[in-house]
Amino acid sequence: MPERARRLRPARFDDLGLRRALGDRMLPLLVAAMAFLAALALAGSAGAAALVRHWQEGAAAALTVQVPAPGDAAAGGTGTRLDAVLALLRAVPGIGDAHALSSAELGALLRPWLGDAAGDPALPLPAVIAVRMAAAAPDLTALGARLGAAAPGTLVESQGVWVERLTRLARSLQACAWLVLAVVAGVAAAVVAVGTRAGLAARREAIEIVHGLGATDGYVARRFARRTTALAALGALLGTLAALPVLAALAVMVAPFAGKPDAATVPAELALGLPALPVIAALIGWLTAQATVRRWLRRLP
């Protein structure tokens, strides 16, 4: 143990004087702002992804079937048209549950449009069957044709069209979020590069001395990279933490749309992405400083 301790360079040995030359305020502050934006973009992407997933599950799982004049005799002869359609539906593999809405349920559904007339039994309403799929949706055209044969005029509707439009919108939002992330990463790299270059200019003399004493490019680059890595990671950590209250507030607002009344569930993208932000910032800090310093050092023999 003492042997090991003696081999270690003193912790405060700062031969290039970078503690003062590489600002410990500006760089972390700017990176914190970047991380804050990145956290918001990440949350946007994760939120859109969660909505898409939820909508798609819902769409794949639900069909509505309308049977006009449900009480009339079926084309096949036995029972009403509604019974015939229900029987046919229940025989289709992959259909979990087919349930005809009662006139009370139907009335409640239509009341906003029809007012009290919705409860009037004399109104010639079609029967509405809500179908839940257990497996993937069957071929709707074929299904419609079979149901139509038993009870002409029967309509099969999936909720797919709307979901498809909403999904496309959500996917565009997601793409925007990724674009924002890419731009933020680029700006963060630029911020680190500018900071590093300022540090190089401020410590030119010290670098030339150390270089003259036989320091490799790697030695000098490592000193800069170590500092920018720490500063960028610290900044990103602060920025991410600052974004947490905002994200929590958003999550509460989004929860009802995603069909999750309890806002406690965090999407996996966020649970992984947010802790990754300081790590990615550190990586950007390290790579940018290495590249910037090594390029600069090529002016020395």
């Binding site: 003062r20 003399e205 150390v210 004493l213 490799t216 490019d217 023999p301």
Partner: protein, 223 residues
């Protein structure tokens, strides 16, 4: 071993190239040799030492330092060579934010020596130049002579194979200058090739030895 064949040096390059400050130098210093480097101010002594210190590359000609041809060497090949060269600069070139101890320790730490050895060697070296009590002082808190001794300690602490000194006695009194000459001669006796630029005639007279004489960037062969 140091060998120059037709070496010329211009500062700057391309359109910003200045006039040649060293012209077609041919000279050889055998391994373990000692040379005074003499000549009036502006003759090119510092420039020649910079070449030998691998701080600048020759504009033309063949330069061999410690057995390696410098003109054809890649950048990556130079740092290990530089670690075997010690140089005392005329303007010391100490790092202002580091203590005397850390300045002297710098070459050893750059070379990746274990910290235990660094402590022992630096302490010993500071004792030798009489600065044990000032080891925590920054250069700004040291006198010119003390700074010069720190610069000397830093040049010597890594036991270089090639030791270069540029007017190393400029800020020293006679006693200290004698002490420094003892140190340089001791390093030379231990095998280092030593080149000392000076225009201190008295010092040269007290320690006669072969000299390289420069004038206006050319060798004078009257020596």
């Amino acid at each position: 071993m140091v060998r120059l064949e037709g070496v010329s040096l211009q500062y700057g390059s391309g359109r910003r190239a200045g006039p040649a400050v060293l012209h077609e130098l041919d000279l050889t210093i055998p391994e373990g040799g000692f040379r005074w480097l003499r000549g009036p101010s502006g003759a090119g002594k510092t420039s020649l030492l910079r070449l030998l210190n691998l701080t600048v590359r020759p504009t033309r000609g063949r330069l061999v330092v410690l057995g390696s041809e410098i003109g054809g060497a890649t950048r990556a090949e130079l740092p290990p060579l530089r670690q075997r060269i010690g140089m005392v600069f005329q303007d010391f070139r100490l790092l202002p934010h580091l203590s005397a101890f850390d300045n002297v320790a710098l070459p050893l730490r750059i070379a990746g020596r274990p910290e235990g050895q660094v402590r022992a060697d630096v302490t010993e070296m500071l004792r030798w130049v009489g600065l044990s009590r000032r080891s925590d002082a920054r250069p700004a808190a040291l006198s010119g002579g003390e700074q010069q001794r720190v610069a000397i300690a830093r040049a010597v602490v890594g036991r270089p194979s090639l030791l270069l000194a540029d007017e190393p006695t400029g800020n020293l009194d006679d006693t200290q200058a004698e002490r420094l000459m003892l140190l340089l001669k001791e390093m030379n006796r231990l095998g280092a090739t030593v080149v000392v630029a000076t225009h201190n005639e008295a010092l040269v007279a007290r320690h006669p030895g072969p000299a390289i004489r420069l004038e206006s960037g050319r060798l004078r062969d009257d020596a």
